[in-house]
């Protein structure tokens, strides 16, 4: 019996290897034939998984890099904005006193235009009003021609009067001082009385008959009878009314913020009783005739 020669013997394996060599070469030729290489197509299919993994990895790296870059840019922006905000706040803090004083000066200027009097402006350099026997010190004195009992006003209302005048400074007696007395009148009833201080920011009107009708919230003006202030300057508002014997006890909240005053106007000594606002220029307010 003759052996076939294609088994697991050395000759058989050699023949199988030869066939595999020929078929492999032929398969290689077949796959690479034509314009569109099928071999290239097969390689593309085999390379698809690692290419997908590589693309995903590349996208992840780009995303991470972009995220890190965006975070760094955002942090730099935040730091820059914080520095700008801090600089602006510091500038505002530095400018705040000057701005407040400028606003007060503007209001004083407006008040000065409303009243036809020869005012003198002064700066409050010390304000110890709440201390025992305290008061306010102005930076003007006899060198500016000031004398005691000159009225002092602010844009919000009456402040007080000069108490003692030194060479270059003067002390001020505010309306809420216990020893301060000011002639006032009520806005509605025109009843007059004397305002006496009751403590910080408060005062009471004396000598108002109990037959008068006084309402809470009613404005209180100077009466001009004390010859310190002209008539009609705002003093404050009625905060409480109650009968007290034959007169009314009328409490008043002062209009001027005595704790926050920086600039004040000093009235001339012994002003006129009535002060009229300046007349409007001729022709102003009239419609033009055509």
């Amino acid at each position: 019996m003759r052996r076939s020669g294609w088994g697991l013997s050395a000759v058989g394996l050699s023949r199988w290897a030869l066939v595999a060599l020929l078929l492999g070469n032929l398969l290689w030729m077949e796959l690479g034939r034509g314009g569109s290489s099928r071999w290239q197509h097969l390689l593309n299919i085999l390379a698809a998984p690692p290419r997908a993994v590589s693309a995903r990895l590349e996208r992840w790296r780009e995303y991470r890099q972009e995220r890190v870059t965006s975070l760094k840019v955002a942090q730099a922006d935040v730091a820059s904005l914080r520095a700008q905000v801090a600089a602006l706040l510091a500038a505002r803090e530095a400018e705040a006193p000057r701005l407040a004083e400028a606003e007060e000066a503007v209001r004083l200027l407006g008040l000065k235009k409303l009243l036809p009097l020869a005012f003198q402006s002064a700066r409050v350099i010390v304000n110890v009003r709440r201390a025992p026997f305290g008061g306010m010190i102005l930076d003007r004195g006899a060198d500016a021609g000031l004398i005691p009992d000159q009225g002092v006003i602010a844009p919000d209302g009456v402040v007080g009067r000069l108490w003692d005048v030194g060479a270059t400074q003067s002390s001020l007696l505010p309306l809420d001082a216990y020893n301060a007395s000011t002639g006032v009148m009520l806005a509605r009833s025109r009843a007059t009385g004397v305002l006496q201080g009751l403590g910080p920011g408060k005062a009471a009107i004396r000598y108002i008959g109990n037959q008068e009708v006084v309402q809470v919230g009613e404005p209180v003006f100077t009466s001009g009878l004390d010859r310190v202030f002209p008539r009609g300057l705002l003093v404050g508002y009625v905060s409480a009314v109650r009968p007290h014997d034959v007169e009314l006890h009328v409490e008043v909240v002062l209009a001027a913020p005595l704790d926050r005053l920086g600039l004040v106007l000093i009235l001339p000594a012994h002003p006129r009783l009535e002060v009229q606002p300046p007349a409007e220029p001729a022709g102003a307010g009239k419609p033009a005739l055509s």
Partner: protein, 160 residues
């Protein structure tokens, strides 16, 4: 003193390796390169005791030749034609061992033609249309030289 029994195989191996290198380095001269390729396929390849070894050497020669040429869009055709021609020469050698030089020349001349046709056919299959070239003519012209070398310096073992 006789030579060891493995010596002709080793010589044939190194000669085939030398021929492979020569094919690579004679790429600028296609005529001598074709002669070397033919010598490897029809002269040395069939002399190996195993057809697998001969076909492998012939295939390697084809790959080196095509790789050095860099002309075809897809390689492998020359190697396949080389292997088929080598196997055909091996079968002929096994079936009718040569006894004289001139009949051997005639057989090798026919095998050169067949080898040329097979290579052309397989290259056309793998890479498409291509030029014939004059390598086959060089192989025929120099056939007495390389066939004589193949027969006398390294006689095929099947001839014994």
């Amino acid at each position: 003193m006789s030579a060891p029994p493995g010596t002709p195989k080793v010589r044939r191996f190194f000669l085939a390796l030398l021929c492979l290198g020569a094919i690579h380095y004679t790429a600028p001269w296609p005529g001598p390169q074709a002669v070397l390729n033919t010598f490897l396929v029809l002269g040395l390849g069939p002399g190996f005791s195993s057809p697998l070894a001969g076909a492998a050497w012939a295939g390697a020669g084809g790959w080196v030749l095509e790789g050095s040429l860099r002309l075809y869009p897809h390689l492998g055709g020359t190697a396949f034609g080389n292997m088929l021609a080598c196997l055909l020469a091996y079968l002929l050698l096994l079936r009718w061992p040569p006894h004289a030089l001139k009949p051997y020349w005639g057989r090798q001349a026919v095998l050169v033609i067949v080898h040329t046709l097979l290579v052309h056919l397989s290259v056309s299959f793998a890479a498409g249309a291509h030029a014939w070239g004059t390598g086959w003519l060089w192989s025929l012209l120099l056939l007495p030289a390389w066939a004589t070398v193949a027969l006398r310096l390294h006689p095929p073992i099947h001839r014994k």
